[in-house]
């Protein structure tokens, strides 16, 4: 999965964003660029977070931005990666709702999506790997960790 991010150019390294909305717009850039999702996709994710709260923060530090499966905004099934050098906070009243690692989901094929999610789950369960991901600087680090962890 980590090597796929690099191979498909589904990754972005960003120093800092002004707020979580900007983080959502940024993390969708790689998948808008190759027409996996339409330009409206980040707006839909932002709408969902505004409505339901920061449920996309899976574990403190790690966000999984996504919207409804299928729909006319999603053309392909994939996951895109973003690393912020400075974490962004989603809800000021919830100290756990911050993230510097973003795994942005796009899904229009339930079978492919399930496979993606199983890989992502295996990756996020590896605490040593997640710890190392919090410290990475560029795509070479992604490739190095892909080799090291075989994930």
């Amino acid at each position: 999965m980590l090597k796929d991010f690099v191979d498909k150019k589904h990754y972005l390294f960003v120093d800092e964003v002004s707020d979580w909305q900007e983080a959502i717009r940024k993390c969708c850039e790689p998948i808008i660029a190759d027409e996996t999702v339409t330009e409206r996709y980040p707006d839909e994710i932002i709408r969902c977070v505004n409505e339901y709260g920061p449920y996309i923060v899976l574990i403190p530090g790690v966000a999984m931005p996504h919207s409804q499966e299928g729909g006319d905004m999603v053309k392909k099934t994939t996951i895109s990666f973003m690393k912020l050098q400075k974490p962004v906070v989603f809800d000021e009243s919830d100290p756990d709702s911050y993230a510097d690692l973003f795994f942005t989901l796009a899904s229009c094929n339930p079978d492919d999506h399930l496979k993606d999610m199983q890989e992502l789950s295996a990756l996020l369960e590896n605490e040593d790997l997640v710890e190392e991901l919090h410290g990475i600087k560029d795509e070479n680090d992604l490739l190095r960790l892909a080799e090291k962890y075989k994930l």
């Binding site: 409505e51 449920y55 996309i56 899976l58 574990i59 999984m64 996504h66 919207s67 999610m117």
Partner: protein, 98 residues
């Protein structure tokens, strides 16, 4: 034996992650589960009364007040990847897991 519904906003991201973590706990602990499903909040609001237990992100608990009033146990999770949290919170409901 109980039935469990995992629910988040969209039904394909956070709830699926929850369901996959739950699956691991079920295997580890040998829980006896009659039915397991994950879905969106719009579906879950209507169908949650048909389950014994609902798993959802912490801030979704209040959306299941009606189901709770009808006896459905609702468990909110801080970390949907944590098998430990799911195990402890589900056991704390007192439901018969065997």
């Amino acid at each position: 034996m109980i039935s469990i519904l995992a629910c988040c906003a969209n039904g394909s991201g956070t709830s699926l992650m929850m369901d996959m973590t739950l699956e691991k706990v079920i295997k580890q602990e040998g829980w006896n589960i009659s039915k397991r499903h994950h879905c969106s909040i719009s579906e879950g609001k209507n169908t949650s009364v048909n389950y014994d237990l609902v798993l959802c992100p912490q801030n979704f608990i209040s959306m299941f007040k009606d189901a709770e009033a009808k006896g459905v146990k609702v468990v909110g999770l801080r970390n949907v990847m944590s098998a430990k949290e799911i195990k402890e919170k589900v056991e704390a409901t007192g439901l018969d897991l065997k």
